[in-house]
């Protein structure tokens, strides 16, 4: 099992949800986050006072999947979240030790 974490452009979220749903993903956790990467921030001006906004708003999604699905999910995310410009985001994949469904107590693959 793997935990796939992706940082994407906020406006790509709906498209991505549809794509991973088609692949067979059963659940996604979404968080609004801010951060910086290669993409520069932008400048805002309020009555002549300029502020550099260094942390750009992004959306973080977390998906726990069984091993056979990993590549297809990565592919679905890459395809939908890509615009080709700096700031499209990143995908992190890490090993997942255990999964527990709280309602039933099921473990691991059957809990996904």
């Amino acid at each position: 099992m793997k935990l796939i974490t992706a940082i994407i452009r906020p406006h790509k979220l709906e498209e991505l949800r549809t794509a991973v749903g088609e692949v067979g993903v059963q659940g996604v956790t979404v968080t609004e986050v801010r951060g910086f990467g290669r993409q520069r921030g932008h400048t805002e001006v309020y009555r002549g006072a300029e502020y550099l906004v260094e942390f750009v708003p992004k959306t973080k999604i977390e998906i726990a999947v069984d091993d056979p699905l990993v590549e297809r999910v990565i592919e679905a995310i890459s395809k939908t979240a890509r615009t080709g410009k700096v700031g499209d985001g990143k995908i992190f994949v890490v090993d997942l030790e255990q999964v527990v469904r709280i309602r039933t107590g099921e473990r691991d693959a059957s809990a996904l």
Binding site: E44, V45, Y46, R47, G48, A49, Y51, L52, V53
Partner: protein, 498 residues
């Protein structure tokens, strides 16, 4: 913030308790009438008190009790003009709406989120505080004859502001000769003889409320709440009331000299703006000023606030005719036109200089235009209004963006840059464009206007700065650095918004 301020407020409320309504006033000169300062000549009264001029005409025509033009008096209830009164009741509510919630939201949206409640609280608390002070002493100091520099004490606790309809009510006063004199009568101010004095006093109260509330923009995000209450109380009595008296009371020196201020360009805006500069200098910069981002947290609130100010301003300017007449209509028209011109002027300036037309910019421009047309509104025609608006938009833009940066003070929300500078632009251009073609209008003089502006700047700055210094030496002006970093909402008020 604690014992001191609480006991102060308790004292204020206690002061308000001995209601002085019981003694009906004689129609004769109040005891506090000036010995040294003779009442102004009628021409001077008409010249100096634009508000009184049109209103006086119809009242003077009715023979039974022609009201005095130099001091408050009693007239028969039937002489009250219901149209004027209805408009002035509405105007009072409109101008109150400018402060709460208009100005509160305008400023509240511009501060950081950790200070939004503290900023709203300032406007709200000032509204309550000044209301009681106005009732106790402010109204009397501003709008009774007194001397050319400050009014008398004949209306302390609104003594003499009455409406006695019938014998039964009057008899409760236990003073038969006096009762005979007041049955069926209502007191009117000499500045608005067709409406009850209650309405005039409350209408003027709303001006006395918004003026100190405007100052809050200069010391946003760092002033102690208790220090603010003290400052506003003292300022309201020894700065606002006298300056209102100078310019609006027919016997005030400014009115006698012919300084034109229809709705408060000098009394409200230059006055609050220069006090704002005194605050910015006396308090110093916010922690992290020019180092940390201090962007507005919610410009939606600011736009709603600016829009409420705009709507309320029709009560402010058209209401200052103290009548529902042609002059009020012209004041309304030029207010709308100048505001639109100023908003667009600021927007295009910003677009040209900074690259983007911002929402904060157009809203700020609208407020600058409203400020600048205020002194001119009962004196000018639509075309000068466009010029005044454009001048205000361009000059206030430069004041808020370049002047502040060049001089380095932290006038956080540009109370000085918009209100003082915009007020000066309006006051001087009123001297240029005042038209005799308007009913009650008259020719203006830039030199006379400049006298009024300079006197207000000097008196306002010096006295405001002294008040601030005294407060700083006694209870302190600023919150601690830790409280400032945490935000005023939590540190001063024990609340926060998500």
């Amino acid at each position: 913030m604690t014992a001191l301020s609480r006991s102060f407020l308790c004292a204020l409320l206690a002061l308000s308790a001995p209601v002085a309504w019981a003694d009906p006033p004689a129609e004769a000169t109040p005891s506090s009438a000036p010995a040294s300062a003779p009442g102004p000549a009628p021409q001077a009264a008409a010249a100096g008190a634009p508000a009184a001029a049109p209103a006086a005409a119809p009242a003077a025509a009715s023979p039974p009790a022609s009201p005095s033009t130099t001091e408050p008096s009693l007239i028969l209830n039937s002489q009250i003009n219901s149209g004027d009164t209805a408009w002035m009741l509405a105007s009072m509510a409109l101008v109150l709406m400018m402060t709460v919630p208009g100005l509160a939201l305008f400023y509240g949206g511009m501060v950081r989120k950790k200070n939004v409640l503290g900023t709203l609280m300032q406007s709200f608390a000032i509204t309550c505080l000044v209301t009681l002070l106005w009732y106790v002493i402010g109204y009397s100091l501003a709008f009774t004859p007194g001397t050319p520099y400050v009014g008398g004490l004949s209306r302390l606790f609104m003594n003499g502001v009455i409406y006695i309809k019938d014998v039964a009510a009057a008899a409760a006063t236990k003073d038969t000769p006096a009762v005979e004199a007041v049955i069926g009568k209502v007191s009117v101010s000499h500045l608005g003889v067709t409406i009850p004095e209650t309405v005039y006093a409350m209408f003027q109260l709303t001006f006395a409320i918004i003026t100190p509330a405007l100052i809050c923009g200069a010391f946003a995000e760092r002033m102690k709440f208790s220090a603010m209450l003290w400052f506003m109380s003292i300022w309201s009595i020894i700065v606002y009331a006298p300056i209102a008296h100078w310019m609006w009371e027919p016997g005030g020196w400014g009115a006698t000299a012919g300084v034109l201020d229809f709705a408060g360009g000098t009394v409200v805006h230059i006055n609050s703006g220069i006090a704002a500069l005194a605050c910015a200098l006396a308090l110093g910069k916010r922690v992290g000023f020019n180092k940390e981002p201090m962007a507005p947290h919610n410009l939606v609130l600011t736009v709603i606030g600016a829009s409420l100010l705009w709507v309320g301003w029709f009560g402010f300017n058209a209401g200052s005719a103290v009548a529902a007449d042609g002059r009020a209509g012209m004041a309304m028209a030029v207010t709308q036109i100048a505001t639109a011109a100023a908003a667009l002027a600021w927007m295009f300036m910003e677009w040209t200089v900074k690259g983007k037309p911002s929402v904060l910019g157009i809203a700020s421009g609208a407020v600058a235009g409203l400020v600048a047309i205020t002194p001119a509104s009962g004196f000018v025609m639509p075309t000068p209004a466009v010029i005044i608006g454009i001048a205000a938009g361009v000059i206030c833009f430069l004041a808020a963006t370049s002047l502040k940066k060049a001089l380095g003070y932290d006038d956080s929300l540009d109370a000085f840059g918009v209100h003082c500078i915009g007020g000066i632009v309006g006051a001087l251009l009123t001297g240029v464009f005042a038209s005799t073609a308007l009913d009650g209008g008259q020719a203006g003089s830039v030199v006379t206007q400049l006298k009024g502006v300079l006197a207000t700047l000097v008196y306002g700055f010096v006295v405001s700065y002294l008040i601030l210094k005294v407060i700083d030496m006694t209870i302190g002006l600023r919150v601690t650095e830790e409280e400032e970093r945490e935000g005023l909402d939590v540190s001063l008020h024990g609340e926060h918004v998500e």
